[in-house]
Symmetry: C2
Subunit: 181 residues, 2 copies
């Protein structure tokens, strides 16, 4: 008999309620709001992500960090959102889509962004904000970004950085675990 399937469940409070998000600012604030709710409800690390069709107003899928809740070290917000979007669209390619994430992606998530074929990534808090509270970002170099940019991924860094970083501080205030490998 095969081992049981792996299950990655979203937190119970997470809903896609049909709201529209017009601008990059609105979309990054959705990702930051997911991160904030994840901290306040204590359902995972201080990270949230949302995937939109390019120029679309409704998210295809969202994700929150579920590492401590699910005991799953792969369940960062970005791969959760990517897998949810691919399941919803029934395709392993997210060409024509863009990712909004509350903080700069780690090494694993940058790789996942490349394989998903996402066209654009917008993030709020920067690597140094994430590392300041004790999280490791892994082996990410200037060359990592160059590699992805050459393959057609565009990056927008630090949009509403202060709001993304504030959620990281909120996590520390709540005594959230720092769970590096």
């Amino acid at each position: 008999m095969s081992p049981p399937p792996i299950q990655i469940a979203h937190p119970g409070w997470l809903t896609l309620d049909g709201r529209e998000f017009a601008t990059d600012g609105d979309k990054i604030r959705l990702a930051i709001d997911l991160a904030r709710k994840n901290v306040l409800r204590e359902t995972g690390g201080p990270f949230g992500a949302a995937i939109f069709p390019v120029d679309g107003r409704r998210p295809v899928a969202v994700g929150t960090n579920g590492v401590p809740r699910l005991h799953n070290s792969v369940a960062h917000a970005e791969p959760v959102a990517i897998m949810a979007a691919e399941a919803f669209l029934d395709t392993e390619s997210l060409h024509g889509h863009e990712l909004f994430v509350s903080a700069e992606p780690c090494a694993m998530c940058l790789g996942a962004i490349g394989w998903a074929g996402l066209e654009r990534v917008v993030y709020a808090a920067l690597r140094e904000d994430v590392e300041r509270i004790g999280f490791d970002e892994g082996p990410v170099f200037a060359g990592s970004y160059e590699y992805l940019v050459e393959r057609g991924v565009a990056f927008v860094r630090g949009l509403h950085r202060d709001e993304g970083a504030a959620v990281l501080d909120l996590y520390v205030e709540h005594g959230g675990p720092i769970y590096n490998g």
Copy 2:
């Protein structure tokens, strides 16, 4: 209502039958055998992985590439094995465990190895073997390995490389899709 959970199902033929694997050679051949079966049964890309306790003889979990079957670009053999092991052990840390994989990990999977806290990684086919059949390995640099080695991950490269590479050729012969992002 929350979106449905993400499901990552193993192929139906995959079983953990209680067999014992004594040496690194035996363990890497299990990973290669999983990759070969995945090609022959047409259940995914030509990659297999197995996770053992350090010095243990029975795998905690295994994984095969499920990208085209599951329409999930994250479902490389390594994260599938990591998530399966963590689900089985009910922990997000695989300290005290080692990963055997049929080919050199890509950028995403190297990141995942770091976050899982795996102590040792043994792989068969090398990056150039994987790229020769058209797969991209992503932004992996010498510094990526140095970063992980400094944090306590040991790597053994190219053990039974020829057997791992032969599975890649078998995949090409079977007309398997090359599905880079």
